[in-house]
Symmetry: C3
Subunit: 245 residues, 3 copies
C-alpha cells in the first residue's frame, strides 16, 4: 500500500536528479519513506536517494516496492502548476500507479521490478572533503564544456579546483577561502572524471543547494546533498578515469 | 472594396483560430462584417467564423470576396507590437491586399478563390451542452497527450468528462459543480474524437474564453465561443470516430 | 603586451558585431586602443572597428597584434553575468590569451595572424546621408524577410526607404520627418544590396543605437555607428548588387 501527497516542485526536483541516470526505477517503500538505489546502464555512476515521509504533504505506506517510468512521471508533473499538490496512489488490484492533480487523473502501469538490480552502495573513506554552493561547481562545468571530455577535480590544504585541458584551450575554477563553506584535505589529491556525467548531475541540482564533494586519488568522487528542505538525502558516486602514467 | 483597421492582438487571435484548419482562406465581405466557412483538407473539421464590423477599429466595405494566405498574414502580424493598429486595404486594380503598420507597408497577391468550396454548415440539435472556461479543457488535453490518438468526450446529468486510454496509461478530466458554468445533459452521451484536431483548436483559444461544448452519441462535437470581445463568433465542428461495437 | 578589463556587456556587444562577418580576427593593439579591419570570406562586406582605451575598465598595452577566435570568446562571455568584469591578458610566453571572470580562468591559443590580410578601407564620398534609430531599420528588415534575397535602399530629398519586391509580395519601410534624425540627399539615389548581410549586421546592433547610412547609386552602402557609450566606432561597408538595366 502506498498513498501520498507531495508539492509539485518537490516531486519535480527529485525526478530531475534521478533521471540524469536512469528512466525506469524501483523505489523501496516503508512506513518511514522511500529509498532508491540505482546505477546507470554503463555502470559509471550510482545514486542513492532517501526520501523521508516528511518530504510529503501526507504519506501512508506499508512495506512494498514500486517500479516507475520517470519519463511518464515527468509528463504528469507538467500538468501541475507551481504550488499544486500531486496526489499519488498505488492501485494494487490493477497494477497501476495513479496521480491526481485537481480534477485531472492520470494512471499508468507499474513497471516490472523483478529484473532490476539492487546495487550495493560502496562504503568509501575518502581523504579530502569540501563543501560549497552548487552554483560554484556549475560555473566551473560551464567553463569546461567543449574543451575536453574529462574534468579534473583536485583538492589540497588551501584550495579546491576543477580544471579541464584540451589541445589549445584550458579552463579552471579555483575555490579557496570564502568561496568554500569548508575544506578538509590534508594532502593534495586529484582524479579525472567524465565531464558529461559530472555536468548532468550538477545541472540538475537546484540553485542554493549546499554540496559536499569527497575525493581521493583514483577513487570515485562522492557528492552528498539534500533536497526537499532537507527531507531527502542524495549520495552520488562517479567512477574516475584512471590515467596511465 | 474593403478597408479596415484592427488591433494587432485581435487580428492575431482570429488568424490563430483559422490556421489550425487551413492556410488559404476565402472571406465573404459585407458592409456589416466578414464571414469565413472552411473545412480542413481531410474534411474532419469545419469552422464558421463571423467577424462583426465592431471587431475593427474602423471598417468600410462593399460586398466582395477576399482570398488570403494566412501564413503570409502571420508574418505581417509579427511586425506589429502589442497595441499596434494594423491597417488593411484591398488593392482591386492590382489584385493585391495591403497591410500597413506604422511606416511599414506590406502587400501580397490575393489568393484565387474560385476553386474554394463553400461548405454548408450543418444544422444539428445535440442533446448535451456544457459551458466552461477553455483552460479546463486545455488541461484535460495536456493530460491526454502521448497516451492515445483519440479522446472521449462524455456528458451526463452530473458530470462532464474528457478521457483517454492507451495500452498502459489512462488520463481523465472530470468537471462537475463549480468547474462548469452550466451543464444540460439529460442522458449520458459519449463520443470519440481525433485528439490532434481537438487539441489544436483548444490550444488556439485564448485563456479566459468561455466555451460551449455540444455533444451527442456518435455525432460531431460542436464548439461555440467568441473572440474580439464578443464581436467575433466561432462555431467549430469536429467529426466523431465511430467505434465498432 | 596587452592587459585589460572590460564589462561583459561591452565585450559582448563588440563581439556580436564583428562575428556577423568573420570568426577569426586580428586586432592591432596600441597604447591608445584596438583596431580591427576585416572583410568577410566572400568579400561582400568590410568592417572597421576602433575601440578606444576608455571603452575598457582598465587598459594597458604596447604595440602588438592579437589573433582571436571569436567563437571561443563567445563561450567565455557566456560565463559572465550582467555587470561582471572580464579580465583579459596576453600570455606571450605560451602564445595564449587568458580570460578571468571571478574565480574562473579560461585560456586559449592565440590565432596565427600572418596569413590574415589587412584590407584597405575605401575612402568614399557618397551623395546621400541619413541618420536614424537602428530600430527603424530593424523593422524594415523584418518586413522584407522571406520576400526576396535583395533589399533596395533609396534616399531622396524628403524620404528614406527600404523596400523589397518578390513575385507576389512587396514590403516597404518609408522614413520621413520625425522618423529621421537627419536626412541629406539632394538627389534621388538608390541601390540594391544582399538582404542577409544587411539583416545580420542590423540585428547585431543594440536597440537605442543611432546609425548613419551613407548611400549613392551603385556604390557600397556605408553604415556608421558607435558602441560602448561612444568609445568604440564602427564603419561597415556592404557592396551593392549591380542591376542590369
Amino acid at each position: 500500500m502506498f498513498k501520498a501527497e507531495i508539492k509539485s516542485e518537490t516531486l519535480k526536483g527529485l525526478v530531475n536528479i534521478i533521471s540524469t541516470l536512469i528512466d525506469e526505477v524501483k523505489f523501496a517503500i516503508t512506513p518511514e519513506g522511500m529509498t532508491l538505489k540505482a546505477v546507470d546502464p554503463a555502470h559509471v555512476a550510482m545514486i542513492e536517494l532517501r526520501i523521508g515521509a516528511k518530504a510529503f504533504e501526507s504519506y501512508s505506506a506499508d512495506g512494498t516496492e514500486l517500479g516507475l517510468d520517470l519519463d511518464k512521471v515527468k509528463t504528469v508533473i507538467k500538468l501541475a502548476g507551481p504550488g499544486d499538490i500531486v496526489a499519488m496512489e498505488q492501485d494494487e488490484e490493477n497494477g497501476r500507479f495513479v496521480f491526481r492533480i485537481g480534477n485531472v487523473t492520470r494512471s499508468m502501469n507499474l513497471v516490472e521490478t523483478s529484473s532490476m538490480s539492487d546495487p550495493k552502495v560502496p562504503q568509501l573513506t575518502l581523504s579530502a572533503s569540501a563543501v560549497m554552493q552548487v552554483e560554484q561547481l556549475q560555473r566551473g562545468i560551464k567553463a569546461a564544456e567543449s574543451i575536453s571530455d574529462h574534468i579534473s577535480i583536485r583538492a589540497g590544504p588551501e584550495e579546491f579546483e576543477l580544471s579541464c585541458e584540451g589541445d589549445t584551450d584550458k579552463a579552471s575554477l579555483k575555490l579557496a577561502g570564502a568561496d568554500l563553506e569548508s575544506l578538509d584535505s590534508p594532502a593534495e589529491v586529484q582524479s579525472l572524471f567524465p565531464l558529461d556525467y559530472f555536468a548532468n548531475i550538477l545541472k540538475a541540482i537546484p540553485s542554493g543547494t549546499k554540496i559536499r564533494v569527497e575525493l581521493d586519488k583514483d577513487f570515485p568522487v562522492k557528492l552528498v546533498f539534500e533536497l526537499a528542505g532537507g527531507e531527502a538525502k542524495v549520495v552520488y558516486f562517479l567512477a574516475p578515469r584512471i590515467e596511465n602514467d
